[in-house]
């Protein structure tokens, strides 16, 4: 019999019941909630007179639509200017108080973007099933969690039953060997993967990322990669446990201690695919060949190396794809054939659950240090992913580097990644953004997003246009 993949092992360990009709009940170890996708679920519980199955597996925090402005944040929840945002954040507070769920409130240490705060608190740990009403939940797969986004009906289902009704996915292995060159980061690796397999390439699969590049990568880098599995169509992206994963969790707030820590570590070390495991699909890339990536269109698969140029629609033979390129270029105000590094930048956003961790901010600060934002750039937002990241960055003096360069240092939240708060692009504005989606209107109605790494975003802020961070003056 063939060995098991990491996904198979996690699935088997959480299977409560396999039903004859093909559906299965899977046990959920950790449920993270935020203000946008939970209110209707809590309402459903109340209407049906149900209570959460377990309280101690849930953790909540507001992140999606809170202000990142220091003065507005300091004024508290009651002073949130936008009424609908205020109601949503207050509703989360009220629901968590009513049901007894641990919430890290808006200005509390521990608050942050769900996928930044979960790992840093040790709320998500290797081997857990982790769900959240947010598609970027795959982030937690970076340390071998079976983690994925769910809809609001499923949020209610997990609250009420601690289980999810689901079906087993297929296994995909993405192997990237070789060594990344200087200036090439986890973000570039995942964008290159999405460019290779497309935004539907992983649909129906749980992806395991393996190979030298991921072995060499930090846990934070692995989170950036797994975070964007959904942009490749896969709900789940994972990396096997190694010493780095174990070291990462030692001493974290909700991580086990003493004898239980040793017991956990022993189990965590089994969380890797067997040598003879069989995958339904395998994709291989050469890590040494990856250069910094930039998205030029309105889908994350529309990426090119910074050294390349924007594709010409006439070179595409598939009519649906050609139409897609034409539509994207029209929306983006770009011309096929022109160099990627000619793309102008009006605003820059450094943040989001993809790239707002301390290493991301260090990488951006290393570029910003001693330099100034170009006059043509209207705004550079640097938004730490959590209160803990913010505190750490400030203790290292990174905030001062950003401010000296002419950038805005903000309060933690999702911010301009999805523009649910006041941080957004104006129509027609180009933005070098470390976020995960470049859909039409994603960062503001008519806004034009270019997905890049934190170092590339900082470089674009300095140059006033997309530029190769490796050759920045």
């Amino acid at each position: 019999m063939a060995g098991k993949t990491l996904y198979d092992k996690l699935w088997d360990a959480h299977l409560v019941k396999q039903r004859e009709d093909g559906s299965a009940l899977i046990y959920i170890d950790r449920h993270i909630l935020h203000e946008v996708t939970s209110p209707q679920a809590f309402e459903g519980l109340r209407l049906a007179g149900r209570k959460p199955w377990r309280l101690d597996v849930n953790v909540a925090t507001p992140d999606h639509n809170i202000s990142t402005d220091s003065a507005e944040r300091a004024a508290g929840v009651d002073a949130i200017p936008d009424e609908t945002s205020r109601i949503q954040v207050k509703t989360l507070d009220e629901n968590c108080d009513y049901f007894g769920i641990r919430e890290f409130k808006m200005n509390e240490m521990g608050q942050g973007i769900v996928h930044v705060m979960g790992p840093e608190l040790g709320a998500s740990l290797p081997g857990m099933t982790v769900v959240c009403g947010d598609s970027h939940t795959a982030t937690h797969g970076a340390f071998a969690c079976l983690a994925h986004g769910i809809g609001t009906s499923e949020v209610e289902h997990v609250l009420a039953t601690q289980c999810l009704v689901t079906q087993k996915m297929k296994n995909m292995l993405i192997r990237v060997d070789g060594t990344l060159g200087p200036g090439v980061t986890a973000k570039d690796v995942v964008l290159a993967i999405i460019g290779e397999i497309g935004t539907a390439g992983g649909t129906g699969y749980a992806i395991e990322f393996a190979g030298q590049v991921f072995r060499d990568m930090s846990i934070e880098g692995r989170m950036t990669v797994c975070n964007m599995a959904i942009e490749a169509g896969a709900r789940v992206g994972m990396v096997a446990v190694d010493d780095k994963s174990i070291d990462y969790f030692k001493g974290r707030r909700f991580a086990p201690t003493g004898e239980m820590w040793d017991q956990a570590v022993e189990y965590w070390r089994t969380l890797q695919s067997d040598d003879d495991a069989v995958f339904d699909a395998t994709v291989e890339l050469d890590g040494s060949a990856i250069v910094p990536q930039v998205s030029w269109g309105t889908s994350p698969e529309m990426v090119a190396p910074v050294t390349g140029s924007i594709p010409r629609p006439e070179d595409e033979t598939d009519p649906t794809k050609r139409q897609g390129i034409e539509r994207a270029l029209k929306y983006m105000g770009l011309v096929g054939g022109s160099p990627i590094s000619d793309i102008p930048v009006d605003r820059v956003f450094i943040g989001s659950c993809t790239n707002s961790r301390i290493e991301d901010l260090r990488a951006a600060a290393a570029v910003a240090k001693g330099r100034k934002v170009a006059n043509s750039v209207k705004q550079v937002l640097v938004v730490p992913g959590s209160q803990m990241v913010k505190a750490q960055a400030e203790s290292e003096g990174l905030d001062k580097i950003f401010i000296a360069a002419g950038m805005d240092w903000r309060e933690p939240g999702c911010s301009m990644c999805l523009a649910m708060n006041a941080d957004r692009l104006g129509a027609g504005e180009h933005c070098a953004s470390t976020s995960n989606r470049n859909f039409e209107g994603r960062q503001g109605n008519g806004g034009r997003t270019h997905l890049v790494s934190p170092a590339m975003a900082a470089a674009a802020a300095i140059a006033g246009h997309i530029t190769d961070v490796r050759t920045l003056d």
Binding site: L25, Y27, V59, N65, I87, G127, E154, A200, G233
Partner: protein, 215 residues
């Protein structure tokens, strides 16, 4: 949940690939704490020429004349014809809520994003998968014949064309059962309480740290 059995409806085309959930329902409308009322803002950025705000009366907003759903011939459409990877992007269930609130009962496309596909079933909305060439034909026929209607017959798992031709489709047994009966999935799962409790007691023995959690 509303049950789905047999539905006859006017077909409207959404002729582009990779329609994402931001396109289906833009982020500013996600601030609502309700499940209903998203219909007027379905495809907001494509449908209107101005930028929509939550709570706004959409009746007087300028419509985009190039967007098919604004054409009189598609008024009252309840079957959406779409292209590959429909519903990609976020997990927001507001996307199926908006489609449902607008009046759509079924979607036909060559493929869907996983989370969106799953969310549809929780809301009595039936996403049907057909091969690309079949979808192509449907697009052509729906464009040529004004008032083009399809019968979606879930019990028999067929879509019936105006010509009488029947197109069989696949659907997972459990999902079909839930849709046909309009079942409350939570109620169903709670019937498995013993199995869940049994799992928990086993798991606590081997992985006790999972039961010393958030405080």
């Amino acid at each position: 949940m509303r049950a789905f059995t047999v539905h006859t409806g006017l077909v409207a085309p959404m002729d582009r690939a990779n329609v994402d959930t931001d396109m289906i329902i833009p982020k500013q409308f996600l601030k609502s704490i309700k499940r209903s009322g998203f219909g007027p803002n379905l495809f907001d950025e494509l449908r209107y020429l101005d930028e929509g705000q939550p709570g706004q009366d959409c009746a007087n907003r300028p419509l985009n004349p190039e967007f098919p759903l604004n054409w009189p011939r598609y008024e009252g459409a309840s079957v959406l014809l779409a292209r590959e990877n429909f519903g990609c992007g976020s997990s927001r269930e507001h996307a199926p809520w908006a489609l449902d609130d607008y009046g759509f009962r079924a979607i036909i496309a060559p493929s869907y994003a996983d989370i969106f596909f799953n969310n549809c079933f929780k809301n009595g909305l039936l996403p049907i998968v057909f091969e690309e060439n079949i979808v192509d034909d449907l697009f052509k026929e729906a464009e040529i014949a004004e008032g083009y209607e399809l019968i979606v017959d879930l019990p028999r798992q067929v879509v019936v064309k105006p010509s009488g031709e029947e197109l069989p489709f696949e659907i997972d047994e459990f999902r079909k059962h839930c849709l046909l009966e309009g079942l409350d999935e939570i109620g169903l799962t709670l019937k498995e309480t013993d199995a869940i409790r049994g799992y928990e007691s086993q798991r606590e023995k081997t992985c006790p740290w999972l039961f010393h959690a958030i405080k």
